[in-house]
């Protein structure tokens, strides 16, 4: 039942993202707390986790903020699922591995979004797009370096059941 904390953490991340994150934007680009959390948990817990968490977080964001429902969810789902599949072959608790996954994951996430925007016939501005993708992937991965160890600790806290069973 402790996994409820995980969902609460994701809701909290979305609320922070939409209210206070604009104050720490660099070059007008906000980091993406939801993406960092979902990639980290998929890396730690595998594909099942990546599907549930990306659907939960993505649909919440889409319902609340986006005109096209599914826009964030599908990008998040693809990135998280790939991370979950690849996580079998890496050393999961390493911060460096998470750094690489978040860096590449952010690029892929934004590219899928740009592709969806092309399908929806948005008028795109290529230099600006490139700027956003690069700045956000660097920013996200730098944040991951600092918070990944706490996510790992939080994850093991959720998984540990000794309080309920072993005592």
């Amino acid at each position: 039942m402790r996994s409820i904390y995980k969902y609460l953490l994701i809701i909290f991340a979305i609320v922070l993202q939409t209210t206070l994150m604009k104050y720490i934007a660099i070059l007008g680009v906000k980091p993406d707390a939801l993406l960092i959390l979902v990639i980290s948990f998929s890396l730690l817990n595998g594909t099942g986790e990546s599907i549930t968490l990306s659907l939960f977080g993505g649909i919440l964001v889409d319902v609340l903020f986006n005109n096209a429902i599914g826009f964030v969810t599908i990008s998040l789902l693809i990135v998280a699922y790939l991370t979950g599949v690849l996580s079998k072959n890496v050393f999961k608790e390493s911060t460096f591995v998470a750094f690489v996954f978040v860096f590449l994951g952010t690029i892929l996430y934004n590219l899928i979004m740009i592709f969806s925007m092309l399908l929806m016939k948005y008028d795109l501005n290529p230099p600006y797009l490139l700027n956003v993708v690069i700045v956000q992937s660097v920013y996200n991965s730098l944040i991951t370096i600092f918070i990944y160890r706490y996510i790992v600790r939080f994850n093991s806290f959720i998984k540990s059941k000794k309080f309920f069973f072993k005592v």
Binding site: Y23, G48, I51, L64, Y128
Partner: protein, 276 residues
């Protein structure tokens, strides 16, 4: 049978992806009253977001007021001068209004300048991503808000348009979003054009005639041809460009509303036609 088709989870992901793409195609475009489930989700999270948003605003206002203390005296003197100048102008304008009304009566002109009525609202959150400029406000269909109503800032400048409406919250699309387009008018030269967002926080006015005398500093307002009430201020011309080989001009427009520090807005409730 390929190996990946035996993986049930993979097939599940594909099915979800297809479902999401169909959902995107179905909901894209906005202008709908959202389903009760969506409305409930927004209703639960809105109060929480409102608290966080106002905390953020209070902190940033505190720091910006510290920064402004040094310049207050100079600014006050400047504003007092402005007041004297404007009150003179005001008397002159009163004369013009009377004269205009008299002449209108003589010509039997129908007065089509209806006053707009507005409903105040707080902004509760902004779009989490970097691609779109949308925000949510804390009034909804319970307060008589409908899709496609115009949204103004405190001073009455155009900010955006309501897209989706829940019970006590609604989504607003800013005019600086890439998806937004507004029919606009240069007040001085009466040139029509379309104002669109360019995703850098500025606006582009396109389809301006080549012989237009539009220049830097002109005020751009909504025209009578859009669904917005006419005469709402959009912004000022910053730069006029002429594409080589094109038969039209375009202008970069600086929006008059401050989108970074937007806190309160007003929704126009008596639009010409509102959806549904």
């Amino acid at each position: 049978m390929p190996r990946f088709l035996k993986n049930k989870q993979f097939i599940f992901v594909i099915v979800i992806a297809v479902a999401l793409i169909s959902a995107m195609a179905y909901t894209y475009g906005g202008g709908r009253n959202v389903t009760p489930i969506e409305s409930a989700i927004g209703g639960v999270l809105s109060p929480v977001e409102k608290v966080f948003y106002s905390i953020g605003n209070n902190i940033s206002n505190f720091f910006s007021s510290i920064k402004e203390i040094g310049t207050l005296r100079a600014k006050n003197a400047e504003l007092e001068k402005e007041v004297v100048k404007l009150s003179k102008n005001d008397i002159m304008l009163q004369e013009y209004i009377n004269e205009n009304n008299r002449l209108r009566d003589m010509l039997n002109f129908k007065d089509n300048n209806t006053n707009i009525t507005t409903k105040p609202a707080n902004i509760i959150s902004k779009n989490p991503g970097n691609w779109f400029n949308t925000f949510n406000i804390d009034v909804g269909s319970d307060n008589g808000i409908k899709p496609k109503m115009a949204v103004l800032d405190e001073k009455g400048n155009l900010v955006g348009i309501v897209t989706d409406v829940g019970n006590n919250w609604s989504k607003v699309l800013s005019i600086i979003d890439v998806d937004s387009s507004v029919s606009a008018l240069d007040v001085r030269t009466r040139d029509n054009g379309i104002v669109r967002g360019d995703s850098n926080g500025n606006l582009n006015m396109i389809y301006i005639p080549i012989d237009s005398k539009i220049e830097k500093g002109d005020v751009i307002t909504t025209s009578d041809m859009s669904m917005f009430p006419r005469g709402l201020i959009i912004g000022r011309v910053e730069k006029v460009e002429k594409d080589e080989g094109s038969l039209l001009k375009q202008a970069v427009i600086k929006p008059e509303a401050d989108f970074e520090r937007l806190e309160f807005v007003q929704v126009v409730t008596n639009m010409k036609m509102t959806g549904n």
